[in-house]
Amino acid sequence: MSYSIWIALVLAIWAYIGIVTTLGPGLWWQEALVSGFVTGVIVGNIPLGLTIGGSLTLLSLGLWTYGGATIPDFQTGSIVGTAIGALGGGFPAGFAIAVPTALLMTQMDVLGRAVTTIFIHGADHYTEEGDERGVSAMHLLGQLPWGLTRAIPVFLAIWLGAGPIQSLIKTAPAWFSNGMITAGHVLPALGFALLLSMLPLRRYWPFLLIGFLMFAYLNMPIIGIAILAVAIGFLFNMIQTRGAVNV
């Protein structure tokens, strides 16, 4: 089983659109859940797109490109993973491809960000001449390194790679699937830990415990915990502002 060149092309275009619309206007189409879902629609396996996209989303919880930092590329990971898993092998195969792809793609992200530097030097040159069309062209073409560093790997992986990789994974024994499924269950720990490492945990840890208690001991549904959180947040605000008024 493998994909036609046309599916590969459509997925490559989707990868290109996903990253460029993330740069502007910022539509969140690079989110694994959206890119996995759309890939699922294209390759005809929406449930797989949802599970791979959902799992990758959970382990990217605390990830953000602060100041232009490079983070694992779960957009490309979810596209390639969903497409390959859809050939057969399902979640274990797709997830086994998605995570390494996301990690390897960090190199392409660095490349894209570096190559775009050419365009700002071009813009310097056109500015010197007062050529506004040249400056505009430089800016608008800046999307090419960004988009192509995603589109080309996706195209090659789906067109040439999907078949061979798929036949390799399909023969994988049961322990391989079990390992992958467990990894999918455990990896959200990274997302939560990243998030907690960016929050002032030392100061706010009691609130973390309240949430845990509500779920683990009182079996409160998450929506209930969210409502409780809003109440507690406003309660604290009330206490603090009252203190300020009294002073």
Binding site: G54, L58, V186, M214
Partner: protein
């Protein structure tokens, strides 16, 4: 001073967004035309980061967005070139929350030929607004929405991706009022941002809410992390001894429910904050541990 206050109140009474008349209050220069302001706003909204690069990051996107304004304000070619050069310096901030008010304010100032004020406003505000914008989006909004969406998706619901999709549209649409807020405030935007009393309180409040929700998310999302291991113990009852098989998981539950999810998060937190490992390394480590445990049937 009183005149300024008057001007502000006049401005705040107007509710329409597209007023190219900020200049008329200062009276020195003709106001920018509506279409110029609108065109700059859309350029910024749609393309700001298309040419993001390591050297000057969002600088070229900023210049491209400002071009309609520069064209209208400066008739002389050398002046135009000088203005363009000013915007080719390093610029980087949060694109959706931080940049629109900065850009709006500098469009207004550029219309008043206040080049120096434009440059210092950009430099002064890009840091604070990057911090505020990233905190709101990356720490408070995105994780909570993403967990809801992901758990919906994992249970097979299409609403998962739809929620993320709508979130993206929400932030994009918000860029429009944020831009016009900056445009109407002009230089006053700096005062709004630096007087952070309300802002810190809101951030603090939302941090508390986020903490509580995350505390509930950890056990609920990772509930599947359980061990199938069993052990045999010898029990003596009524003078007779016999052996029975006990699931390790039920023993763990008796000590602390959801102990394994908590331990994994604590371990990952320690790797990140204690050992200062990068997220990529922690991902690799967790992946290997989980895969091996799963493959050998420990988890």
């Amino acid at each position: 001073m009183s005149e300024q206050i008057e001007n502000q109140s006049v401005q705040s009474e107007k509710t329409g967004l597209e007023q190219g008349d900020l200049a008329s209050h200062n009276g020195n220069f003709a106001p920018l035309s509506r279409s110029t302001v609108r065109s700059a706003m859309w350029r910024h909204l749609i393309t700001l980061q298309w040419s993001w690069n390591y050297e000057r990051m969002q600088a070229l996107g900023y210049l491209y967005s400002m071009l309609p304004v520069i064209n209208e304000v400066y008739q002389d070619k050398d002046e135009r070139i000088a203005a363009m050069k000013r915007h080719l310096v390093f610029y980087n901030t949060n694109p959706q929350v931080g940049s629109p008010p900065i850009f709006g304010a500098t469009v207004a100032l550029e219309g008043q030929h206040e080049g120096k004020a434009v440059d210092s406003l950009k430099v002064g505000l890009m840091g604070p607004l990057a911090g505020i914008g990233d905190t709101i989006q990356a720490i408070l909004f995105r994780p909570i929405v993403a967990v809801f969406a992901a758990s919906l998706a994992l249970s097979g619901s299409y609403f998962g991706p739809v929620i993320i999709f709508l979130s993206g549209i929400l932030w994009t649409v918000l860029m429009i009022p944020l831009f016009y807020f900056g445009y109407r405030q002009g230089i006053g935007v700096a005062k709004e941002v630096t007087s952070q009393g309300t802002l810190t309180r809101v951030t603090e409040m939302v941090t508390m809410m986020g903490m509580i929700v995350i505390g509930g998310f950890i056990p609920s999302i990772m509930a599947a992390v359980q061990t199938p291991l069993k052990y045999v113990q010898t029990v003596s009852s009524q003078g007779q001894t016999h052996t029975e098989t006990v699931a390790l998981q039920s023993t763990l539950n008796a000590i602390l429910p959801y102990m394994l999810p908590v331990l994994f998060v604590a371990f990952a937190y320690w790797l990140l904050s204690g050992l200062k490992l990068s997220a990529v390394w922690v991902l690799v480590i967790l992946f290997v541990i989980a895969f091996v445990c799963g493959a050998f049937g420990i988890l």
